[in-house]
């Protein structure tokens, strides 16, 4: 969810536009002092603006549709229509007609789409179909799937360019996310220019960069007249483990054994509940579950306390891989004559 501060309804106050994980864009209108609780941005037919995958509020489940497939330049994955899932959205006057259109990022398949506003900012009428955003003659695409999109006039030519960032492999060792820039060439976008290389997740013992789920913002952090980057994302690293003495090795063995016993006992408690709930539905099931769980609380609390006591020591003796989110600053040091910025 990348917040964008923009006067979406043209009332003179900045609003907040976001795309969120439910698969649709939202806006929180501002009055200059506060923002109201957000609501979903709808198309001209009153439908939620989605790609293909979205959270169905009426049926309370994830749902899919093909009504939002673009009519031309349809992106595909393995020959089939791409499974779009919108998680990012920005407002941008795409066609210079004085109103905000929506540019939508696809977290599932990595494409970028456009919903054109056929109305005005005061009375938006968003089209019922997405259009595929093209770059260099092909659908704009991030191999790591889109984490978010940002509009920025990177080169100061008066036209908004697009930054597209990648999720990358969220948990494993495969390639992580990066950030690409697409320059606005007037009627289309150019090919991707790498701002941040996708992370190859080298084995490091401390956080070195955002590796996964990169969310950039361009701003002149240091006041030197060029655009730097703020980037949110997860870093992955494994703290260096110290050499253990024989005593420590023995201690670690005991602690791990204790931890395994705790896990086994916890699983056994859960199994008792599962078995007792078999065949029950609705309120009787909920009531029985609560009754059994409450009866187990003292035992579970004891196990939790024990686990909390030994885990830090295990971590100290044998650090595990870390995956923690931070916000990073990238200072632009491109020589002025090479920066492309004005």
């Amino acid at each position: 969810m990348s917040p964008q501060f923009v006067d979406f309804n043209d009332d003179g106050h900045l609003d907040i536009v976001v795309g969120i994980f439910d698969g649709s864009p939202h806006v929180a209108f501002g009055d200059g002092k506060h923002w109201q609780q957000p609501h979903t941005i709808l198309d001209k037919n009153g439908e939620i603006i989605v790609l293909n995958a979205f959270w169905n509020f009426e049926e309370k489940k994830w749902d899919a549709t093909d009504r939002c497939n673009p009519e031309s330049n349809m992106p595909t994955t393995n020959g089939k229509p791409a499974e779009g899932h919108l998680t990012s959205a920005i407002a941008m006057d795409w066609d210079s007609d004085g109103d905000f259109d929506l540019v939508l990022g696809d977290h599932k398949s990595g494409y970028v789409y456009l919903r054109r506003n056929e109305g005005s900012n005061q009375k938006p009428q968003f089209a019922a179909k997405n259009e595929t955003v093209m770059a260099g003659g092909k659908p704009m695409h991030d191999a790591g799937t889109v984490a978010t999109i940002r509009s920025v006039d990177w080169n100061g030519d008066g036209k908004l360019d697009l930054m597209v960032s990648g999720m990358g492999d969220p948990f494993g060792d495969a390639t992580g996310g990066g950030v690409a820039l697409y320059l606005n060439e007037g009627s289309s976008f150019g090919q991707a220019i790498t701002l941040i290389e996708p992370s190859q997740k080298p084995k490091v013992t401390e956080p070195k960069r955002p590796d996964v789920g990169l969310h950039p913002e361009a701003v002149d952090i240091d006041g030197d007249g060029d655009l730097d980057l703020l980037v949110g994302g997860y870093s992955q690293w494994t703290p260096a483990s110290k050499g253990l003495s024989e005593t420590e090795k023995a201690e670690l063995k005991v602690l791990r054994s204790d931890l395994a016993a705790i896990q086994k006992e916890t699983a056994a408690l859960s199994a008792i509940i599962t078995e007792a709930l078999e065949g029950l539905e609705g309120d009787p099931r909920t009531e029985k579950h609560m009754k059994l769980y409450n009866a187990q609380r003292p035992q579970r609390a004891k196990l939790t306390t024990h686990r909390q006591k030994i885990l830090p020591r295990i971590e100290e003796l044998a650090p595990r891989a870390k995956r923690v989110s931070f916000t990073w600053a990238y200072e632009n040091i491109t020589p002025r004559e090479s920066s492309g910025q004005r």
């Binding site: 969810m1 964008q4 006057d93 008066g158 606005n184 240091d222 030197d224 007249g225 931070f326 916000t327």
Partner: protein, 124 residues
């Protein structure tokens, strides 16, 4: 797809860039400012270069630490001419960290509506 480039903030660019990188923690003195001589864009082929990234602190914590997919936005929330940082996350919550006069960032606070309720985009 045209845009007017933003002009500098009111106490713009009297200040020079400061990026303290020594401790892997950034405390920038930062003002949004986009001025300078015009350049051609052909130079992109030579590559845009950034310093090794540094983590940003907010008060006594790391900004956005532990949030689900933190997503920063630079915005001057209190109109003091310095950009502040708003962080969105996967859960649909927003926090903000005001930039102090010395370029450091204050502790994150939750962004609330007029009734004091947390602004909540997470409705799924």
């Amino acid at each position: 797809m045209t845009v007017k480039r933003p002009t500098a903030g009111r106490d713009s660019l009297s200040s020079r860039a400061i990026m303290k990188v020594a401790t892997q923690t950034l405390r920038p003195l930062a003002i949004l400012a986009l001025t300078g001589a015009a350049l051609t864009s052909h130079a992109f082929s030579q590559g845009i270069q950034f310093k090794e990234p540094v983590r940003i602190s907010a008060g006594d914590k790391m900004l956005g630490m532990g949030r689900m997919y933190p997503s920063p936005a630079a915005h001057d929330l209190n109109g003091d001419g310095r950009f502040d940082i708003v962080i969105g996350d996967l859960r649909g919550h927003l926090t903000f960290s005001l930039q102090n006069a010395d370029g450091t960032f204050a502790n994150e606070q939750k962004l609330k509506d007029a009734n004091g309720k947390i602004l909540d985009f997470g409705n799924w």
